[in-house]
Symmetry: C2
C-alpha cells in the first residue's frame, strides 16, 4: 500500500547462510524507508497446520511431546509441517491420522497465525475437526508422543496457569473459547 | 520426570551451524527414547518481552511495523528482545519507551509463551501496564514503526478476521479478553 511507504523495506540482495537438514536461512540486504540499508536474517519454512479435534462429548484430542529446544515435554494441539507444496487440508488429515490415529468427518478452517514474524516465514493454518473415528497412529521414525484428551475448561486453565505455553496451542484455545461462547462462528463442511 | 522417559531426548553432541549477525543456530545429535539417534536443529534466542499497554479510557497502545520475512506490515503489541541477561521488566520498560514513547506507572506479569517450540529456544514474557504517560519515542536506527491505539473490541475483531496473525499479539488478546471478562486475574503492582 502506498500509504505504508514510510514502513516498507525492499530487498536489494539475498544470500543463503544456512542449508541444514531442517533449517534453511537467508541474509537479505534491504533498503530501509529512509534510504539507508540493513540486513535481515530469517528462516524459510514451508508452513504448517494445527488441528483442534473435538470429540462427541466436547473433549479435545491433545498431545504431550518432548520439544528439544525447550528441554521439556509440552502440551499441544496436534500439528504438522507441510510436505512441500502439499494442500493444507490434505496435510491436516495426514498428520492427524499419523500422530493421533484419528480421522475426522468434518473440517473447518478457522484462520492463520505467524509464530515468529521477525525471523521466520512460517505460517500455521488453524483447523477444527469433528466426527472423529479412532484407529491406529502411525508415527514417523524419530517421533515420540503421547495422545490424551482434555475438556475445554482444563485447556483454558492450563493456558492461564502456564501449563500450556506453546504459541499455536494458546491461539487454538483462544479460538475455541470464542467459538464455544458463540462470539466467533465456524462454517462446518462435511 | 521419570514417567516421561518414553518421551525425553538426550543431548549426545552439539555443533554450531550458523553464527549470523542475528541468527545463531545449532545442530545437536540426540538419543531418542527408543535408543536410536536423531539430529535437532534450532535457533538460540535470548528471549523477549511483550507489553500490553492499557490507556485510561481502556484503549490499547499498538504498533504497525513492516516485518520483512512476512513481506507486509503487521499489527502488533509492542515487544522487544532481551539485551543479553537483562531483567525482563527492565527490558519491557526500555522497549515501551523506545518504541512508543510511553512510560507506565504500574506493571504486572501475566505469563509466558514459546513462539516456536520445534526450532527456537525463544520465550516471550507477557506483561500488562497502565498509568501511561506519553513522551517521545526513541527508535533504534533501522527501526521504523507506527504507534496507534485501538479498543479491545477492535483487537478481538482483528484476531477473528485475520487482520492480526502475529502469534504473540493473538495471545496478548487472549489474555486481555479473559482479564476484561474477569475470568483471569492480574496482581497489579505500582
Amino acid at each position: 500500500m502506498t500509504q505504508d511507504k514510510h514502513l516498507i523495506e525492499e530487498k536489494i540482495a539475498s544470500e543463503e547462510i544456512l542449508k541444514g537438514r531442517f533449517l534453511h536461512a537467508f541474509r537479505d540486504t534491504v533498503r530501509l524507508p529512509d534510504g539507508g540499508t540493513a540486513t535481515r536474517e530469517y528462516v524459510v519454512h514451508p508452513g504448517a497446520v494445527m488441528m483442534i479435534p473435538i470429540l462427541e462429548d466436547g473433549r479435545l484430542v491433545m498431545e504431550r511431546q518432548y520439544r528439544y529446544p525447550m528441554g521439556r515435554v509440552m502440551v499441544e494441539f496436534p500439528a504438522g509441517k507441510l510436505d512441500g507444496p502439499e494442500d493444507v487440508l490434505v496435510c491436516a488429515k495426514r498428520e492427524l491420522l499419523e500422530e493421533t490415529g484419528y480421522t475426522a468427518a468434518e473440517w473447518v478452517r478457522a484462520g492463520q497465525l505467524h509464530p515468529v514474524i521477525s525471523y521466520s516465514t512460517e505460517f500455521i493454518d488453524i483447523w477444527f475437526c469433528r466426527g472423529l473415528t479412532k484407529s491406529q497412529a502411525k508415527l514417523d521414525d524419530e517421533e515420540f508422543l503421547e495422545v490424551f484428551t482434555a475438556t475445554p475448561q482444563q485447556v483454558f486453565d492450563w493456558c492461564r496457569d502456564g501449563t500450556i505455553t506453546d504459541s499455536k496451542t494458546l491461539i487454538g484455545a483462544f479460538w475455541l473459547q470464542n467459538i464455544l461462547a458463540g462470539a466467533w462462528k465456524l462454517d462446518w463442511k462435511p
